[in-house]
Symmetry: D3
Subunit: 195 residues, 6 copies
């Protein structure tokens, strides 16, 4: 549908990329049916690409006290606060799918305080916003708000680290003019959609 | 799908409303297939209801230099800046339909500077954001940015007045906990959708 | 005294206005001894004029739990926060008259936290400032601060709606360069003044 | 008229003050007809009192390129930006008298960008606001905006130093809850008033 | 080491200065081994110089409930918040010496919330930051946080007055481009250093 | 000297760490004479540790148009803006060493606009601050300010990516209460120091 460029930087050709990076891209294409633009934009710098996705996977694909939907919810709230179009649109789609909820991503992106979320999720996002926008003021009082909701010390690290990683990711996307793929906008919105 | 309340205030019964308000609500229901919650929430105060929609229609339904899609684009950008969930979701749907573009509303809500919009639309939204967030500093220099894009003095008034009206509307919706109808989220996103 | 223009937009001639608008203007002139410039600036758009004043009167002239002086106090604090010269000067005059207090308007406009006001008025203005400047964060906690001071749910709506209406009004005045009439500055300041 | 306390700190008795401070207070009382509360609040600390008024007089009573009305205009704009009730009300009165203009103080306090001031005064206040609110960013570019309006290097120092002195004064007044005398509110507002 | 100018304003020759100012400068030179640039920059205006240092000494050299190290800690935190290079570097050196602690100045300048300070010092700096950045909101609640830590009403005035004085000083230094002497950077950092 | 904990999270024992991480830590200890705390705090999460340092090295150790001192200058300015004590102190030391300049790190941390830096460095840091604090507004105009100073498109990516990486790093350090080692404070300050 759209012909706007994927980024203000040129995108490398798949054939010119190192084998491991080409493999990762082909793998995501097979799974999703398209290549999310973040893979194409970052591929021009193989070392940064590898570190970025290793970090991403360590935080987003791990087991632990946070569900995968909760992790994506943190990403969407953080990216909304940072006005990052790529991450709100792309991770909004993933959140809809993982939470099996077609509404929650738009709600969290605009104003998580008005979203249909649980008190646990609300506490998680209040803390996430503190790390996103005022990390220099985080203290024990902030952590104490999380524990009654069942978050362990490791879960709290996870929340903070996801926010921190997307502080990086949102700035890269905003700086490089990274454009979300058209496919993301509709993903997870239709009742019969499967995954 | 959702059972969360429509507002923190009780919603009156349709049968208890004054005739003109009941008529307006039945009319919008017939046209849209559902009653947008803003009509229900405001109906408890008939005089304010009448003034609100008279003002809304005077700005949004009028003829003039701004297209209806442009007017809705101003609403979505303003409501994004004010973190108003009801207005971003509801007017995002109307913008998708009026612009015949399933992507633009999400783009404008998150970060209009990265949206697929024309230079004219960009100038319009830059000015709208100045009125939304820093009206006390608006001066001739701001207006001068608009004229090369073909905006007349009356168009400029329209832009500013739409922003001002949604400064009101966004605050009412945020204060009253006005919940967007589930129907809005998907409207205008599917290629075959007609109106 | 002053010869600066009333607005950056031309002011229509009284004789060219629709009958109802002309009548309203003549009525206010008879009551006040002069025509406040807001009537002249908005008269160029009759439909918006009618909606604006219908909304204004519904909020400011109604009976209810808030006194008229309290309503004006909300307007002055909101307009101070929005740096709106027209509304601070014009409604400051009305507040002085309605509160029979020549000092309170200047105090509230500069810093309501230091004004000679009651705890009830302080709570009312704290809430008003939350709606004016951070409506997206308003929650039950904010409303709970008001109830011990005798504010009903309808009074709370009134406070929020007055702030929201002046969010609109302040932006229109600031955008259009609406100039307060010289007469307002001295009104309500002299001990013997009657109304 | 008012019985609210002059400050959150006790006010010393005139008879207990050092001779030089008592003289200064009696002198201002004779000239003004009342003792501005700033003299009473600061008198409890004689050394700070002497340094404060020595600094004040060095900046506000000196000869130089800035008129006395211009100096007071800087004070009112600075004090408005700092929401200092004492200084807006007290120096607003002095500005009205020195500028022989009953309107300009209220205009400058609320929004100097909309005030009836000359381009020279506008440039002066733009620079003053930069020093008041963002001194760490002041650079040669800011100073260059002043020179075409006839401000010398010494005048520029005067502007900055007055803003800096009232950064001190406004914080002292806000912290100590310094209350403006009732007499200030009406001073300089009546056409026949002499001085 | 450095050849950058001491200020954007010319520095007077010592021989051209009034006797009392020359004496003060020679005295500080004898004590410190160099002349801190603030003395040279302000000397061009003798009356302001005298008032500035009289005020400084009244607050910083007095006896009272605050230790001299605590006073310097307030200066460093305030100057960090105001991004004033001269005052952070110069008073950071004095703080290191007075607190006999080579680390605390850098910690307080960057983020006092993470510094190795006592709960009493933390409460003192929380209050100082409120006066520095939001004096218009200071109220009894803020003062009440200080009393359990042993601060008297006079100590509280001292804290606020030091912040207020450096609100002035930081703006003067930032505006005038006052450069810290190279000597300050290393003072108080070496374990064997004596004073 | 200090006994405050290294972080609010426990630090693993070196012997319990995976071989590659232990090796990296021993290697830095040999080179620097101590183990910077960031290695100890992150080691508790081996996968994140590896990704973090891979990313760090890809940006900070690479060849390219930016000198190593310029890269560290970006880190110090970013970390100052984010009030990150660990990164200002640790990278301040590295900057002093790499720039062979004992003053520049403190200057850049407090206010880079007043630092002794070249116009090229000033442009680099202006852009870095835009990415750090307002990435959602970055546009072609910002990039255009860099090119006249000799920055290539790849250099611009480097600047933005370093800022983005330290947006992550600063949040991790602030959240986890990461304490800078005492050794950093004095590094690079003494004239005879070698490396």
């Amino acid at each position: 549908m759209s012909s706007a460029p994927v980024s203000r930087y040129d995108i490398p050709e798949l054939k010119d990329l190192p084998q491991d990076i080409r493999n990762r891209i082909l793998q995501v294409q097979e799974k999703s049916g398209f290549v999310p633009n973040v893979f194409l934009v970052l591929a021009r710098r193989p070392e940064e690409f590898r570190a970025f996705f290793a970090y991403h996977d360590a935080l987003m694909e791990k087991e632990g006290g946070l569900s995968k939907a909760e992790r994506e919810m943190i990403v969407v709230a953080t990216s909304g606060a940072n006005h990052c179009q790529y991450c709100v649109v792309a991770h909004g789609a993933i959140l809809r799918i993982r939470a099996k909820n077609p509404l929650v991503a738009d709600q969290v992106a605009v104003n998580y305080r008005k979203a249909d979320i649980t008190p646990r999720e609300r506490a998680m996002l209040d803390f996430a916003m503190k790390v996103a926008l005022g990390a220099s003021d985080v203290d024990e009082h902030d952590l104490a708000q999380l524990r009654p909701h069942g978050f362990s010390e490791e879960d709290i690290w996870d929340i903070a680290a996801i926010v921190a990683f997307f502080a990086l990711s949102n700035r890269l996307a905003n700086f490089s003019g990274m454009r979300p793929n058209d496919e993301f906008y509709l993903l997870g919105r239709l009742p019969k959609e499967k995954r």
